[in-house]
């Protein structure tokens, strides 16, 4: 086996876009000051969580998307509270970016993937929206670096793309292999919002099934809102510690949120509501987001009121019934 001789690090190329500031020591200090080590209840409503933990101008990441295990009740509340100038981590998103832009909440997106709706295109053309280019995995790797408390992470993808030029990535000569290697900036969002199947009131959370970057997002973010289909006891958490995905000390708010991902699915709990999903897509793709927001979000005061007013028990029960697969979704 031959080993490449050590070579000096050299900057070969770099993207020109602005990126969320990288500050691992600042993050550590935030953790020291703000993250409670005490096992206390953090239960609150989605309204309180958004009032307390989402500020105008925040960088926000949310897990999954509007169709699958998305924290939709919090996204809806953010729109209801008319938050402004949010910077969205647009990895594996879908129609949700179109809604957040349509509601005037988002002015920057790192992407990823999102549904390019007429509203998004208009916002871009009018200069109300800036987009920075990454890919889904590059974004989740940025969170991975943020979750490890390190300033950047090398990846074996993204080099040679035009996205690279419009990102915060750099190409360096790696001192160990001597090979050109892409590095990407760590991402430590201001806010993460994660919808899980179960959590205790302190924030110990269980995610069942596949996901995108639930755990890195929770570890990497300054303010973490967990919304849970079910609140379980801390004793139950302790009965199966291996099932804990997110430890309580990352978590700042816990919201009890049955059907919190409506109209999307929560695997193992309920199937999606295809008619309502289609209603969103139709609104977003026709550039008619405003009436949609009026009906589903502004016209109600909470997720529960939305479920009562526009969905109803029969449909919710049917969604549960149609989710026939349970294996793997309980501890």
């Amino acid at each position: 086996m031959t080993l490449a001789s050590s070579q000096p690090i050299e900057l070969l190329a770099e993207g020109k876009a602005k990126y969320h500031p990288v500050d691992p020591d600042g993050f550590r200090e935030w953790v020291r000051e703000h993250k409670s080590r005490t096992l206390v209840s953090k239960l609150m409503t989605e309204k309180e969580a958004v009032e307390k933990f989402v500020a105008d101008g925040d960088y926000i990441t949310y897990e999954c998307n509007y169709l699958t295990r998305g924290p939709n009740l919090v996204l809806n509340e953010i729109m209801r509270q008319r938050k402004k100038n949010l910077w969205i981590a647009g990895k594996f998103t879908y129609v949700d970016v179109g809604l957040l832009v349509g509601a005037g909440c988002a002015s920057k997106v790192d992407t990823g993937f999102f549904l390019a709706t007429p509203g998004v295109r208009t916002a871009l053309a009018e200069g109300r929206l800036e987009i920075f280019e990454y890919s889904n995995v590059v974004m989740s790797m940025r969170l991975e670096a943020g979750a490890q408390g390190i300033p950047f992470i090398p990846v074996r993808s993204f080099g040679g793309t035009d996205g690279f030029d419009y990102s915060g990535a750099k190409l360096i000569r790696d001192p160990y292999t001597g090979l050109p290697t892409v590095i990407i900036p760590a991402l430590n969002p201001d806010v993460a919002v994660i919808h899980v199947q179960q959590a205790d009131e302190c924030g110990n959370a269980r995610v069942f099934g596949t996901g995108i970057s639930d755990v890195p997002a929770a570890l990497a973010s300054r303010k973490v809102i967990v919304t849970a289909e079910e609140i379980i006891s801390t004793d139950e958490i302790r009965s199966n510690p291996g099932a804990t995905s997110i430890p309580y000390w990352c978590v700042d708010a816990v919201v009890e949120a049955p059907f919190g991902a409506y109209p999307g699915t929560v695997p193992g709990y309920y199937a999606s509501d295809p008619m309502a999903v289609m209603e969103i897509f139709a609104a977003a793709l026709r550039g008619a987001v405003e009436p949609y927001l009026e009906k589903w979000i502004y016209g109600v005061s909470s997720h529960q009121e939305m479920l009562e007013k526009h969905v109803g028990v029969a449909k919710l029960l049917d969604m549960k019934k149609r989710e026939v697969i349970k294996e793997g979704y309980r501890a």
Partner: protein, 279 residues
């Protein structure tokens, strides 16, 4: 095998990709739609021991079909009876480590060196049309050993140079360009499949290698803004079989999401296949 008598062009493309699927190999299927249906069809008929992952890091599921509409990832049916559940980073790690033999993806635009555009049509940042972005395709195209691309045979989709490289092909086409950009050695584009044709690469340049029986080489070239190399002998692809089409329609794409989207319809008139373009 009985030849199918009528099928859509998208169905034909999926059948071609399905026949490329090999047992003992791994496939990273991008998003939903044609890539995943192609791999599943291949597994059912030709290569039961082919395995696949999706962007949420699921390994070798036995999905409960059909999928719910648009629910091909982070959904219980799509990830059913997998060997392992993961996330986007585990999927990325498997690819970086060399476990992914083939990536299968869809795109809007491809160029002579197999570069892929799913970000922007036109000059970036100057008018033009914003699209959805690379999603997971950038990592698939960067790190899988071989990449299979599915697209439509349309002039505007085969170009000299894509408007924006969202996911890497052979970049500028020079030897070692991918490695100089930081990508793993020995990887890159392998095939492009359209409803009319299959392309490979010679010296990192796109080459027409096979055609469907209902189109001529000239008809294909007329639908390429960039004229690819043409193999000395362009093979003729066997049309879809009844069995392939039946599985696609009754088990996989039961809602016809990939059937009526675009393109023509191919019908056997008793002597030959003819192409009918629907409105």
């Amino acid at each position: 095998m009985t030849q199918a008598e009528a099928f859509s062009e998208r169905e034909a493309a999926m059948c071609v990709v399905a026949r490329m699927v090999e047992s003992g190999k791994t496939y990273w299927a991008a998003g939903g739609g044609t890539p995943i249906y192609s791999v599943l069809l291949g597994k059912k008929l030709y290569a039961p021991d082919a395995q696949y992952v999706t962007e949420d890091g699921v390994i070798a599921p036995i999905p409960m079909l059909p999928f719910e509409p648009m629910m091909t990832m982070v959904a219980s049916r799509a990830t059913y009876k997998a060997l392992s559940w993961g996330n986007m980073n585990t999927a990325g790690f498997y690819a970086q480590l060399g476990y992914m033999d083939y990536g299968v993806l869809n795109t809007l635009q491809v160029d002579k060196h197999g570069n892929i555009n799913s970000t922007f049509l036109g000059e970036y940042g100057h008018g033009g049309r914003r699209m959805h972005g690379p999603g997971g395709a950038d990592t698939i195209a960067a790190c899988c050993w071989r990449t299979i691309l599915i697209t439509d045979q349309e002039k505007r989709k085969f170009v000299e140079k894509v408007d924006f490289i969202s996911s890497p092909g052979f970049l500028d086409g020079s030897e070692g360009a991918r490695e100089r950009a930081g990508l793993p050695r020995g990887t890159g584009p392998w095939r492009v499949v359209t409803p009319w044709s299959v392309y490979d690469y010679v010296d990192r340049r796109l080459r027409l290698m096979a055609r469907m029986p209902w189109v001529t080489v000239d008809e294909i070239l007329a639908e390429c803004e960039y004229k690819p190399l043409v193999a000395a002998e362009v093979q003729v692809i066997d049309p879809p079989t009844e069995e392939e089409v039946q599985i696609l329609r009754t088990e996989l794409d039961v809602r016809g999401q990939t059937t009526d989207a675009a393109g023509g319809w191919i019908v056997w008139d008793g002597e030959k296949y003819i192409r009918q373009v629907t409105g």
